[in-house]
């Protein structure tokens, strides 16, 4: 089984560890697959504009650098640790109300996708790029400030666009995903070193991007595990 974490932030957004060290941290701990998913925040709200100003978001002007550096690190990680690194982003639509906010990952993305686009437009663009769409921390969390409930509240409308839902995020487990029988994965939402010890995904597939994506989409051979030292 491949030990995977598909939700990792670096200093390209609000993570506290830079990209190279993040890759090393997961490589040293024996991980097989990770995805670097820094925030792309909507710039059409006050919170969003502030986030852009503080450079806590990947932007259109630094997206190419972001991708180039991830690819460079992916090469290094593969050669040194046999670690597969997938580029991605976390589209973060932040509003004052948790009910209006939504966070979702686009894995194996190729082109920049602005977070201020409509949901449908983003999902269709993701499909066009053959990226995976993962709904992040979709339900109530222990840290109330991180709640982003829009996708869950509107699941009837958007579930068809979503390849998998986070059934566990860091220390939180969302049993509603299980009850709804949605496809699932578990991630750390890594921002700090200690977040490495959290829920993870185990995949029973080959270690290449297409197999990993297929395994998540079909949601067969997927398990979750609480990674502890």
């Amino acid at each position: 089984m491949l030990l995977c974490d598909f939700h990792i932030h670096t200093r390209y957004s609000d993570g506290s560890v830079d990209l190279e060290r993040t890759v090393d941290l997961f490589g040293q701990a024996g991980f097989d697959v990770i995805a670097i998913t820094d925030h792309v925040v909507n710039g059409d709200t006050t919170i969003g504009r502030l986030t852009h100003k503080l450079k806590f978001s990947v932007r259109e002007d630094n997206f190419d650098t972001y991708m180039t550096n991830i690819r460079k690190e992916a090469g290094r990680a593969w050669n040194k640790y046999g670690l597969l690194v997938i580029p991605g982003v976390e589209i973060s639509k932040n509003y004052l109300s948790a009910d209006k906010s939504a966070h979702f990952l686009l894995l194996d993305i190729k082109e920049f996708v602005p977070a201020c686009w409509s949901y449908e437009k983003i999902f269709l663009e993701a499909k066009k790029q053959n990226a995976l769409v993962i709904a992040c921390h979709p339900h109530y969390m222990s840290d109330l400030s991180r709640n982003a409930l829009f996708l869950w509240n509107n699941r009837e409308r958007y579930a068809k666009y979503i390849d998998a839902w986070e059934i566990a995020n860091r220390d939180d487990v969302f049993n509603v995903i299980s009850l709804k029988k949605y496809p699932y994965i578990a991630n750390s939402d890594f921002h700090k070193v200690r977040h490495i010890y959290s829920w993870k995904t185990l995949l029973n597939c080959e270690k290449d991007v297409d197999s990993v994506k297929q395994c998540i989409r079909h949601n067969k051979g997927v398990a979750i595990t609480l990674f502890r030292s």
């Binding site: 030990l3 040293q28 701990a29 024996g30 097989d32 640790y81 046999g82 070193v193 990674f227 030292s229």
Partner: protein
Amino acid sequence: MEMFWIFAGITIIGLTGYVFQIVAVHSHTSSKSSREGPTFTGPFPHVSILKPLKGIDDNLFDNLESFCMQDYPEFEIIFSLRDRNDPAYKVARKIKDKHTDRNITIIIERCNDGLNPKVNNLIPAYKASKYEYILISDSNVSVGKDYLKEIVKHMDDPAVGLVSSVIRGVGGRTAGAIFENLHLNSFVIGSVCFLDKFLKMPCVVGKSMLMRKSDLEAIGGFKAVKDLLAEDYIIGKRMKDMGRRVVLSDYTINTVNKYWGMKNFLNRHIRWGKLRWRIGGIQYLSELVTNTVFMSSVPVFIYGPSRMTVSLTLFTSSLKIMGDLYLGRRIKADISPLFYMLSPVKDMVVGFMWFVPLLSNTVVWRGNRYIIGKASRLSPCTDNGRWAWRYRIVAGIRARFA
């Protein structure tokens, strides 16, 4: 003000001891002594490297890989784990798959022969080892390519029974890791070199222990130390008692502490303090005396801050910063010079920690609680045991504030 002068006197005694420690480290790491070290005559002997693994250490992949990169004719590496679900298993597996040209074995066996979990982990690896020379090495240790050759050369002398190495803390990125590395690179290395040079006492740290199986068997093997917390120190002591020389190699090995929390630092040094108290008895007092920063600050607590009391503390702290900086440079530690300013703070914390072993004789190690007896002998600490009431009080306070 007599008390002030008493503590000033103790501080001077402590500083003198600290100077001796610096001299010992200087002497041990001098290039002259390295050049004049022994050389191995004839072919190098085959070596079995025993690596007990438990959980993920900082830089575990690189640490394990550094042993695969040894420039040494013939050796085997045995990774020993208790459980396939241990996260270290995946790392060991990756190392084995990457270095197919190396003789690497992974052993998974739940051995419960003793109470020391490290020894329990070592026993299956020892049974599986093929060669006469065994090297026990912790998983948080990283070494250079010439490490094995450098330590094995001491074994050319048949009187040598055990070779250990001095350790250097590297890689600190968090406050806990920096405290840990500062402590390893000043107090620990200073004490180990001091005992070796001036008192001729073997002070073996289990991070690196090379010995012959025949010698280990002669002192009773791992079974003889399976219930001891300080199995490394006792093995060294028994080797010496048997008439074998215990050599402290001038090869400095790296202990990687990158992302340690303050809790890890406190836990480890309270545990080590407890075992030194149990082994050394009254000699444990010397640790407090040589903690010059702590001793020089006692008058500040007694009389309050005044020009005299604060001056003594600041003067001692400055000397300690400079001394630790010198030691760091000497052993090529990678700590930024600015972080040495934290050295007195660390010493203050260590000073308060010194008292804990006097009040508590239990340790939690790898998830289990034990009572430490004489010579660091462990016995299980159950909820109904003699000392359990203290444990229950602590648990109660923790639950109250949780």
